[in-house]
């Protein structure tokens, strides 16, 4: 893009989920391009620009639209209105155990997931050792993933996603990956990735965590961005935002 390298850009993005009385009513409306009667608005006219290398914390209560926003950035869902533009390789530490084929071994899944994320085979080969070391799965590396516990899957998922040299890293702090020692390792890994100039989007309820990793904070409420500024002000704003019943 132009001189200001923008990593993530959302312009006038709205996401409306159509609500129908039945599945078949929805199918009919979608095939015939009819407007739905009722809509649930998950994102309402969101505009956001995140330049390359910036670290941004995303605050908001559950239902504020954070996960919809993230899914849009990772490309899993499409906006109803507006543009979502993402420049660079996105790695999301959200659903760590997703995207594994249970029949493939851990090692094979590294390649599988890497390829899906658009990483060339050669590059994965270079990173394979690093990923395996980080995941600490030992002999299980060559066993099918369906034999793994959920913790092991999460560790492998984290190892892959954090190691593939992403341009944009998205982390949901709500994920718990392994024991305390491993979590410390994960934090260190995230810092390492950030030091390489990776753009960072951090979803968290912990103001302290946010302040330690991020420079900018965005607060969402009811599908809209209500605050966007430096991390301290944003954290204050989120803290003070009265919770309405």
């Amino acid at each position: 893009m132009s001189e200001k390298e923008i990593a993530i850009q959302l312009k006038n993005v709205s996401k409306k989920f159509a609500l129908f009385k039945s599945e078949n009513a929805r199918l009919k409306a979608m095939l015939l391009r009819k407007k739905p009667e009722k809509e649930k608005i998950a994102l309402n006219n969101v505009s956001l620009e995140i330049p390359r290398g910036e670290s941004v914390a995303l605050f908001g209560r559950n239902g504020a639209g954070k996960s919809t926003l993230l899914k849009m950035i990772t490309g899993v869902i499409y906006p109803t209105v507006g543009y979502v533009r993402v420049n660079g390789r996105v790695s999301a530490l959200l659903e760590l155990s997703a995207g594994f084929d249970p029949e493939l071994t851990g090692r094979e899944n590294i390649y599988f997931r890497g390829q899906i994320m658009g990483v060339s085979k050669a590059e994965i080969r270079e990173l394979e050792g690093e990923i395996i070391d980080f995941a600490e799965l030992g002999d299980y590396m060559d066993q099918p993933v369906r034999t793994y516990s959920s913790g092991m899957r999460a560790r492998l998922g984290f190892a892959i996603n954090a190691s593939i040299r992403p341009d944009i890293l998205i982390v949901d702090e709500a994920l718990s990956v392994g024991d305390k020692i491993f979590r410390k390792k994960c934090n260190a890994k995230v810092r390492e990735v950030l030091n390489n100039g990776t753009t960072f989007l951090f979803v968290t309820h912990s103001l302290a965590s946010a302040k330690s990793f991020c420079k900018r904070g965005v607060v969402m409420r009811h599908g809209q961005i209500v605050y966007d500024g430096d991390i301290d002000s944003a954290a204050d704003f989120y803290d003070r935002m009265r919770i309405e019943s």
């Binding site: 893009m1 132009s2 390298e5 850009q9 312009k11 006038n12 309402n44 006219n45 505009s47 490309g75 499409y78 209105v81 507006g82 543009y83 979502v84 533009r85 993402v86 420049n87 660079g88 390789r89 994320m117 658009g118 990483v119 060339s120 050669a122 590059e123 341009d167 409420r221 009811h222 809209q224 961005i225 209500v226 605050y227 966007d228 500024g229 704003f237 003070r240 935002m241 009265r242």
Partner: protein
């Protein structure tokens, strides 16, 4: 649309190619590049690798050492600046065809900004006639940004004020009010459904940048210059809000309470009217 179908195809091809080539010039290592999803979603380039190879074949790109490509002269020429600016501007309300169409109609100033301004003003009228207040609001903001870029601060501020005016109008509650008047929802339900109004941060930032040029006359001009179906904000409130924003004294919760009270007053007003 003025252009014929075949003309449109050519425009689209040129447009997509310009954006693609511009991207490649910043990411010369073909094999190591993750192509953005918007190539497919917005430009219709479903396989970027093959497209890049096609660009090489057609002479827009040329191989260099270590797997990098560089733009050829032809490639450079293909990156029309206006296409890039249009793409970066990213307005959901106008297409590239509209833009080129408008530029042909412009008599004196055919610069990007002048064309976009003319086009957006026309679109605003169309959307206004359709009752699409949210689009009107967004277009006001985009126009404001254009003026600000050109250095016309008063015009920019006016449009940012208009955007604010729309933001706090409560236009999103129009359907709810209609339902209330038609007795489809009770007073309690209507009040419960009120979620506050949102002043977009980018609007506040715009206002703050231009606060020096603001005058009371401008506030007067902005308020009430366009009719919106719903208006939660009185003139006094509007002026107070702008003042708070300029002074950095904007408190989200205080203002939400105020808007909530205004909304309740509006419900009372309609309740009386019904009788």
């Amino acid at each position: 649309m003025k252009q014929k179908f075949s003309e449109k195809r050519k425009i689209w091809r040129d447009y997509a190619r310009a954006i693609f080539l511009n991207y490649i010039s910043g990411h010369p290592k073909l094999n190591a590049t993750t192509y953005p999803a918007y190539f497919q979603q917005e430009l219709g380039i479903s396989d970027s690798h093959s497209y890049a190879k096609k660009m090489i074949r057609q002479g827009y790109l040329a191989w260099q050492e270590d797997d990098c490509v560089a733009l050829t002269e032809r490639g450079q020429a293909a990156i029309a600046e206006d296409y890039m600016r249009f793409f970066d501007f990213a307005s959901p309300y106008v297409t590239i065809y509209d833009f080129l169409d408008e530029r042909e109609r412009m008599e004196e100033d055919t610069s990007f900004e002048a064309t976009m301004l003319s086009l957006l003003l026309k679109q605003m009228k169309v959307r206004k006639a359709e009752g699409d207040d949210q689009s009107v609001k967004n277009i006001h903001f985009d126009i404001g940004a254009l003026y600000e870029g050109l250095g016309y601060q008063e015009d920019a501020l006016h449009h940012y004020l208009m955007t604010l005016y729309y933001d706090i109008s409560g236009m999103e509650y129009y359907d709810l009010l209609v339902a209330y008047v038609a007795k489809k929802v009770s007073r309690g339900e209507a009040q419960e459904s009120f979620d506050g109004v949102c002043v977009e941060p980018r609007v506040m930032e715009g206002l703050l940048r231009l606060k020096e040029v603001c005058t009371p006359a401008m506030l007067d001009k902005a308020f009430g210059s366009e009719t919106i179906r719903v208006n939660l904000c009185s003139r006094k409130d509007f002026n107070a809000l702008v003042e708070d924003i300029f002074n950095g004294a904007y408190e989200y919760d205080t203002w939400m309470d105020r808007f909530r009270a205004n909304f309740a007053a509006m419900l009372s007003y309609y309740a009386k009217k019904k009788r």
